[in-house]
């Protein structure tokens, strides 16, 4: 990626509690693989302005890409946890960029604190109700800047003044003649233009999306099984560890005999933690052990139990491509040790189920 141009402006961002810090956002175009317009937007404390403006140190908090297909991709470090970030952040960009909400999608940024920090927290963290507070200004700025560049690109194509053009619904319209060019058609040309400075953001009375209740963009994939959660991620060479934690709060691991566990094919490692054991296996698939292969362990507790004995359950599932087994052996745990106990009954199931 090559930095082409930049602009910046100072803003006062009010943080919760009334304190205020000066921040400066910097928007730069970046040569996008596969064409289109790619803007990186960086927010820094005032003290870091020099660093932010230095090409080598330009570390965007987020990227906005307008592809040759007209799709708008917002690449942000924030994660969707049900709080709606994958809908609210697209609303910010769609508002300023004058596209429909369904034209925007989000790509999760890879893990990298330096490149993708939360502007308010300084780390790649989602939490503390900071997603909107932290990204409002930079994402809006990126959207407004991109819109201005697309307007310029259209005006240059038609050889008219940009003031006679409007952005609407993912198109630039030349008002006097009604001519239209889509963002898809303009993205490459816009990427060649210098980045304008201090593009004004919309006034609240001009909002058409912000302040409305939008349907969640992540909804469809969550009712058809396509949404990818942490447990669904597969990485080449990935190994999966199962944790057997002490079932009593405050319990400590006393000893482990991992001989049998280590003898199971594909078990790579048995790790002793202060209050737990983990064992990792190679291969695609779930964490595993067999009932005979679970490390024998003694977990002691100095903590009082709730009603004499605290019963807990561990379902230790086992699988590999070559072999596998399932164990559902609950524990009866007493202070000072553990031993297997009776099998737990499952929850009552409705009659039409099983």
């Amino acid at each position: 990626m090559l930095d082409r141009a930049d602009c910046g402006n100072d803003t006062e961002t009010s943080l919760g509690g009334g304190s205020s810090v000066s921040r400066r956002s910097v928007v730069k175009t970046i040569v996008a693989l596969g064409g289109g317009l790619l803007l990186g937007v960086s927010v820094n404390d005032m003290g870091d302005v020099a660093a932010a403006e230095s090409t080598s140190e330009f570390a965007p908090n987020a990227y906005v890409r307008i592809g040759r297909d007209g799709r708008v991709n917002l690449i942000v470090p924030q994660v969707e946890m049900g709080q709606g970030t994958y809908t609210s952040l697209p609303m910010l960009i769609a508002e300023e960029l004058e596209v429909r909400l369904d034209q925007v999608s989000i790509e999760p940024a890879p893990a990298n604190d330096r490149l993708y920090s939360n502007p308010l927290l300084g780390l790649q963290v989602t939490g503390g109700s900071t997603s909107i507070r932290g990204f409002w200004e930079p994402v809006s700025k990126a959207g407004a800047t991109a819109r201005a560049m697309l307007l310029e690109a259209a005006a240059a194509t038609w050889q008219v003044h940009a003031d006679s053009c409007r952005a609407k619904g993912g198109e630039i319209i030349h008002l006097p003649t009604g001519r239209r060019l889509s963002y898809a058609e303009l993205a490459d040309k816009a990427a060649e233009l210098p980045v304008p400075e201090n593009v004004p953001l919309k006034k609240p009375e001009e909002y058409r999306l912000i302040g409305t209740s939008a349907k969640r963009l992540d909804g469809p994939d969550k009712v058809n099984g396509r949404a990818i959660f942490g447990i669904d991620v597969q990485i080449p060479g990935m190994k999966i560890a199962t944790v057997a934690a002490c079932p009593i709060l405050g319990g400590k691991l006393v000893q482990v005999n991992d001989t049998r566990a280590r003898n199971i094919k594909h078990v790579r490692q048995v790790v002793r933690l202060e209050n737990a054991i983990t064992w990792a296996r190679q291969g695609r698939g779930s964490p595993l052990s067999t009932s005979s292969g679970t490390p024998d362990r003694t977990l002691s507790s100095r903590a009082p139990t709730l009603s004499g004995n605290l019963r807990t359950h561990r379902n230790r599932r086992a699988w590999s491509q070559e072999e596998g087994a399932i164990s559902a052996r609950p524990w009866l745990v007493q202070p000072g040790g553990s031993r297997p106990c009776m099998k737990c009954l499952c929850s009552p199931m409705p009659p039409w189920s099983r």
């Binding site: 049900g82 379902n315 699988w319 596998g324 087994a325 199931m349 039409w352 189920s353």
Partner: protein
């Protein structure tokens, strides 16, 4: 050992031990990760799938007990009318938040609706009570009424609007 399974209308052969739960065959062998692991003990319902149209917990269903039964997972639930209805209702009401439990929710509700086009509130509660969900209040607030294919009686239509607004 090789097992021939009928999954989402396709014949699939898997070579695994017989006591592996169906859940892990779906997720790890066949890559159908829409079905979720939650508790592994049939307590939470995240792993719910259909076996011959009946909602079951795949996490405690050994693969050797499946036989020739037709398996339907969340990936294909939109292919049956009740599944489509539920998906539509879920999106109309913007049900999913985190969404982790939603596969199980949709599968449980679809099985109910496939066998009972107009379930009572009690039947819905019974059907869905096996699902642990952080977003439980949403169900209470109006999902139930929107499931029914038939129009609601006039005196109850306000409930639906309250839930879907």
């Amino acid at each position: 050992m090789a097992y021939r399974l009928k999954i989402n209308g396709l014949d699939r052969v898997v070579d695994v031990d017989g006591d592996i739960p169906l859940l892990w065959v779906l997720r790890d062998v066949l890559g159908l990760t829409g079905t979720k692991f939650g508790c592994g003990m049939a307590l939470c319902g995240a792993c719910t799938i259909h076996l011959n149209g009946t909602a079951i917990r795949s996490c405690i269903t050994p693969i050797d007990s499946v036989g020739a039964a037709a398996i339907t997972t969340i990936e294909a639930i939109g292919d049956i009318p009740a599944g489509r209805e539920i998906q539509r209702a879920w999106l109309d009401l913007d049900v999913p938040q985190c969404g982790y439990c939603q596969s199980g929710q949709v599968m449980s509700a679809s099985a109910l609706l496939a066998g009972n086009a107009n379930p009572s509130d009690e039947e819905i509660d019974n059907a869905m009570s096996g699902i642990f969900a952080a977003a439980e209040p949403i169900r209470e607030s109006g999902q139930r009424s929107s499931w029914r294919r038939k129009p609601l009686p006039p005196e109850r239509s306000g409930v639906e609007h309250a839930g879907s607004s």
